[in-house]
């Protein structure tokens, strides 16, 4: 299958971000801030915009995006819905945790893992890109443990390689727990590994203190970032047939309707199953909806919130659409009010954005179950970050994995028992 050229617009987004980084803070300032981010603790929640400024963070985001794109290119993989989801997630988390420094060892480790079992690194490319969720562990060992640099730097690199080596088997095992009903499977994987990392750190006496760097400053350029990306998506639809815009959008709408009928269970690559233009329209609708929601509730457009919005954009190609995310978000919002949580605290606000990982549950088993899943998700996500000390960036993916496993186990047991009784 030929690679849809419009998906390469991803690189345009990376270039726009580099350009913005340059004009906002000036090249030198942006580079200095970027270098500072490489040595800054990256555990949850470390808002890079609050730490180093907008320009430096955008430079970090585009560098991480370029790293992911380069990794796919080296492995000769075409851009698809799945790889776009991985790249947008990688870029999104570069607003609050991922840096080229902490991503690279993990990506190399996963590639070595593939070679170890006589596969090609391309076979585990998605695991490598999503697996960078463990990045804060590398930064923690290198710069937070208090060990001298000549020991800490090689040790952090070696541990990053080691983490990468064991990620594939764990990720595959975790997938079987929730059977593809948690879109952020690597969140469950990283959270599981993070539990061990945090416990090991505690056992050696190096307790992990929580971090909460959460910017609230208002910046018009950060509010405008998402609409810029959505304009590029709109341009990509038009580019498919500029001479016949009306028919083009009619087809895109019909394809979008088809996407709304899909459950979103892993792996649902909308650009492969339906069409690229339909997937782009889904991205525009979903991205705009969440962007407006954040504007209406007056949420800060800081690093973590932008990270959440970018992750939603990515997964609008790979499992999420407005119909399957709505019941989840509703469940989370109701739980926020029932348990009297503060909507503007990082936990609840990020749960609204990242809890959408449970969208396939709602897509497959109906909105009521989606609502229940969202409700339960908020209850557990409040606790999970403490378990791994913020080492795993996809904390909501971890919580969503646990929620999905609970629900799927019950449904599986109920359905199979009912069928068995009928047969008897």
């Amino acid at each position: 299958m030929e690679q849809p050229k419009t998906l390469n617009a991803f690189m345009l987004i990376v270039l726009v971000f580099i350009f913005l980084a340059g004009i906002i803070e000036g090249g030198t300032q942006a580079i200095l801030g970027f270098l500072q981010l490489q040595i800054t603790p990256a555990r949850l929640v470390s808002d890079f915009i609050a730490i180093a400024g907008v320009g430096s963070t955008l430079l970090n985001v585009s560098t991480v995006g370029f790293l992911g794109y380069g990794f796919l290119a080296i492995n000769k993989l075409r851009l698809t819905g799945a790889s776009l989801a991985a790249l947008f997630t990688m870029m999104g988390f570069a607003f609050f945790g991922k840096t080229p420094f902490n991503c690279l060892p993990i990506m190399l480790g996963v590639s070595f893992s593939a070679l170890l079992v006589r596969k090609k690194p391309r076979d585990y490319a998605l695991i490598a890109i999503f697996g960078t969720a463990m990045g804060p562990l590398i930064t923690f060992i290198a710069f937070e443990l208090g060990v001298k640099s000549f020991l800490a730097l090689p040790a952090s690199f070696a541990i990053g390689l080691g983490v990468g080596l064991i990620l594939p088997p764990i990720a595959i095992a975790m997938l079987r727990l929730h059977q593809g009903y948690n879109l952020y499977n690597m969140g469950l994987t990283a959270g599981f590994l993070g539990l061990f990392a945090a416990s090991l750190s505690h056992a050696t006496g190096a307790d992990i203190l929580p971090i909460e760097i959460w910017g609230t400053a208002h910046s018009p350029i950060l509010v405008a970032l998402l609409p810029i990306v959505l304009l590029i998506a709109l341009f990509c639809i038009v580019k498919e047939d500029p001479k016949n815009i009306v028919a083009l959008f009619r087809h895109a709408y019909l394809d979008f309707r088809k996407i709304l009928g899909m459950s979103g269970r892993l792996p649902s690559d909308f650009s492969d199953f339906v069409s690229t233009k339909g997937a782009f329209l889904n991205m525009i609708v979903l991205g705009l909806s969440f962007w407006l929601l954040m504007l209406i509730i007056e949420a800060p457009f800081n690093g973590p919130v932008l990270g959440g919005l970018f992750t939603i954009l990515g997964f609008s190609f790979f499992g999420k659409h407005i119909k399957n995310v709505f019941p989840i978000v509703l469940g989370i919002v109701v739980a926020i009010f029932v348990f009297d949580k503060d909507l503007y605290e990082p936990g609840p606000l990020l749960a609204i954005l990242f809890g959408t990982a449970l969208a396939p549950l709602s897509g497959e088993f109906g909105p009521l179950l989606g609502f229940v899943a969202g409700f339960l998700h908020l209850v557990i996500v409040d606790r999970t970050c403490f378990w791994h000390g913020g080492m795993a960036l996809y904390n909501n993916g971890f919580a969503a994995g646990l929620t999905a496993t609970l629900i799927v186990s019950v449904i599986d047991w109920y359905r199979s028992s009912k069928v068995a009784n009928k047969v008897e």
Partner: protein, 127 residues
Amino acid sequence: MKRHDLYVQLISELANYLLRNNPKKMVISLHLENDGFHIVAIDDRYHSDEEIAEIEQGLKMHQRPELASYYGTMLGRDLLGDARLELIGYHVKGAKVEKIPEGGIMINLWVGSDDFNPAMFTIDEKA
């Protein structure tokens, strides 16, 4: 993954798909060759042209190593929810779906290494 495991998983997912339509008859056969294998599945239920086109689209997802080695591991194991032909599609080298005179369909799948040539199989020609 052992070759044996792949047979079991492919057959399991395929059977899961066909059985969801409640056929009265289902036959699945496996033919081994040195460098690949051929699976044929037959049922007796009526399938519309649109349905057949959808099955073909699902099965012809093209080989996607990055998906096959990760999400493809759910093939034939996680059977809660709809059967997923695309998981089969990530692994196979060729697929063909056709109506049979008895009223059902016959699904042909070919799996093999890079050197494997599905055209060498005689079963497709006989069909």
